[in-house]
Symmetry: C2
Subunit: 483 residues, 2 copies
């Protein structure tokens, strides 16, 4: 199962890795029990935190920014004019908010979706909606028609290796319903989206279709990234709905099923893009940096409202409000809007490479990439186990300031976010904003990832949580992970 795990890790890079681990055991702590630990950091920042929280929670600026981003610009896949527009808009908006702004060039993949369509041709005639996975090659012009082989895991793919030759493999792997105890199960199911095409191609398949990675469907197609193994033929691959995956499964259990499949895509030359950076310079230690971030690109469906419009407007507005309140933290607060998280992670990798020399002085990197929902706290990671413990103690202390609106949980789940992960090997503390994401995977990577799914108060609360955490970490005497 090693290869499957590796594939899962890749696939997860395009979405919240470890999300499953981040969400279990949530308890709503708005009841505000007294902390069972001393809170020396919180005590020192109680007044300023109260001011930040009150300002942020009453403010609707982040939602207003999200409305511009989603309604005016919309979906913004790497290489698209819309992403260029989003980058220009975000840079200008942060300038207008009084931040020091620059962009840092990154080259990104430029994959373009064309038309796609499918149909069962035997034993019945039935339309099947298909949505190419990001990076998929095209079918031959006019499409392909082939028998269908349905599998439910890698083992069954192996067992059916003979049938798979010349066939369209359908991975009908069900994502479990979200539960507070076990999370979403995204990590277990997304591996078939990431690696299904090459695993099928290895056994002679002509195409691979993946049940959309979601637990809920109203005939909903979810796209997402996949990766071709360099040693295998590249075969076209797309998602189908839960409904159609189940239909194909039922039909295939009774006899031979054939499908017609047409996918048109274009792999264009790499395009220039950029990470957008806005800063509040530190008053005493400007070379020590607190990164707060999200990713500005999205898939080319829906509006990218939850994934990850919500994340970037949260960071932008946190910066604006701290500036507006006249707060001058000792360290620099740097808002980074990463480009190309979805289908390349070039923004995150590019940032880590370009800033390698200063990563030792990057005291903290925080990302929000689980959607725009009520904040619950933070998931944290660190390459050093002892440092993680110290980080947990201090962050639990600071996060107690957020108990009033239920955002004080600290979970040492080892994870921050895909874009900040390339900084982890250098020892940069990893922090992910943790939210009530039970509905996240219903919308994520679909046409339904739209502004109407976002509650304004949730985004304001996210700003409050991030602004307090970033400010205190930037201003407190010690590093959050220091001995």
């Amino acid at each position: 199962m090693k290869s499957a795990i590796a594939l899962a890790m890749f696939a997860c890079a395009c979405t919240p890795t470890g999300y499953t681990a981040a969400t279990p055991n949530w308890v709503n702590d708005t009841a505000s029990v007294q902390p069972k630990f001393p809170t020396p950091i919180a005590d020192r920042y109680r007044d300023v935190a109260a001011k930040i929280i009150a300002t942020a929670r009453a403010d609707r600026g982040a939602y207003a920014k999200l409305e511009v981003l989603t309604d005016t610009i919309g979906a913004r896949l790497a290489g698209s004019p819309a992403l260029d527009k989003a980058i220009a808009w975000a840079a200008q908006a942060m300038k207008d908010d009084g931040l020091e702004v620059r962009t840092e060039k990154v080259m990104v993949p430029h994959w373009v979706r064309g038309e796609a369509d499918g149909a069962i041709t035997a034993p019945i005639a039935r339309h099947v909606g298909v949505l190419a996975l990001g990076g998929s090659v095209s079918t031959p012009k006019g499409g392909i028609t082939a028998p269908v082989v349905v599998v439910h895991d890698w083992k069954e793919l192996d067992a059916k290796a003979e049938q798979v030759k010349g066939a369209i493999v359908v991975y009908n792997v069900a994502m479990p319903a979200y539960s507070e105890e076990t999370g979403s199960g995204y990590g277990q199911t997304v591996q078939y989206r990431g690696g299904g095409a090459s695993q099928a191609a290895k056994r002679g398949a002509v195409a691979a279709l993946v049940r959309s990675v979601t637990a809920k469907s109203l005939h909903t197609l979810h796209t997402g990234a996949m990766r071709y193994d360099k040693d295998q033929p590249k075969i076209p691959t797309a998602s189908i709905t839960i409904e159609d995956a189940e239909l194909l499964d039922r039909l295939a259990s009774k006899g031979t099923v054939t499908m017609r499949l047409r996918i048109e895509t274009q792999d264009m030359p790499e395009a220039e893009s950029a990470n957008v950076i806005g800063e509040i310079k530190g008053s005493e230690k400007p070379d020590e940096v607190v990164v707060i971030s999200g990713h500005i690109d999205s898939w080319d469906v829906g509006q990218g409202a939850h994934d990850d419009g919500a994340g970037i407007v949260t960071m932008m507005q946190a910066g604006k409000l701290l500036k507006q309140l006249g707060l001058k933290p000792r360290r620099t607060i740097r808002i980074v809007l990463f480009t190309n998280e979805e289908n390349g992670l070039r923004g995150g990798k590019g940032y880590a490479a370009a800033h390698q020399a200063e990563l030792g002085k990057t005291v903290f990197a925080l990302e929000s990439d689980f959607g725009g929902f009520a904040p619950r706290g933070f998931g944290i990671g660190h390459k050093d186990k002892d440092a993680l413990g110290r980080m947990q103690t201090r962050m639990t202390d600071i996060a107690s300031l957020l108990r009033g609106f239920g955002a004080s949980r600290i979970t040492p789940n080892g994870h921050g976010g895909a874009d900040i992960e390339p900084m982890a090997p250098a020892g940069v503390p990893q922090v992910g904003l943790d939210v009530d994401g039970h509905a996240y995977f219903d919308y994520h990577h679909t046409d339904a990832d739209t502004l109407d799914k976002v509650k304004p108060q949730d985004i304001s609360d996210m700003v409050a949580a991030v602004a307090v955490m970033a400010y205190v970490v930037a201003d407190m005497p010690d590093r959050v992970d220091s001995p």
Copy 2:
């Protein structure tokens, strides 16, 4: 509001009229409290009911039938070859089950959906999915481009009468979330789907778009019936998603919005169709008839699994199991699978007309058209108020037999089902199978109305509830509404 109410009534004819009233105040009564009333009828039938219930709840034949109907035949709009196929299949299946079977010819409308597409053209360029409402005319070839006027009720349409001239009217009327207290709110919102086009045309609009009538959306398009007033120009009309209705609303609140809209449909000559009838002849009073029914047609999207595949397989299997158990009720049990409920109600109207002479001896008509969910009891109606009271007493008595699986609630909501309503003026007692329909309007009239949304046990339980009720009503000495 009289016209609006009339429109709503028409629109509801294509779907569960009065559904709102049928579902409130549901309490799960599986806890099986002792009845507070005497149960002379139930007492007499307790043993046979137990046998029917045990057999039906353990049987999966109804689900197996539903699988054939949905997967092999699929969607089956009036006039389509698929509906013909469904009719032939159902007749044969009931024959195979040992019932006396015939079909009764009915002419039906034959409307055919072509392609449809939409786009916002200013102030932004954005695709808008559209799904023509049943009966809509086409746009001119090449489509129309016009400014958008968004309204939220009839009053606002009136207030914006000047702007509406030459415009595309968008009815952005939100259906409330389902609640046990207030039901679905379908009745209040579907009136805009039914009458929106003609009301807009009356004020000079060139097209009308209706927010899909659902409370939940994953960018989901819901079709359904509409009706043109004979005095108004026929303008093209379609549904759009909640997401796009909200987007258009936000954009229109800030300035001028224009859209391009293309709808292709065909209005064909009326087609021959049929109601399918299967009978168990009464042993003592064969001319007294208990009708149990659903509708065999569906919309042309999804598979028509909940609407109303679940209803017809329930009735078919109830008939089969009663026959199989060798039960010979005094009166005739007649299974009627009505054609063309969705866009014409010709099956229901045709049946009432053809059987007018015997309606006085139709002691009971029951329909299931709220989807395939756990049964909760029955909604009842009668044109005579006193008769309704007597019916309520007797049905409460009989339904106490169903308490063990939570199907014993009797609600005098005045309603049975759209297809049996044409029999109401003749005094035929109206009965609707009441189910836990909280998710019904999520799937109804969409591509998501598919077999995977139906739980086999729910359908088995529906069979149990209907078989007991039908058998007892057909066998008991008195009519269910007699003095």
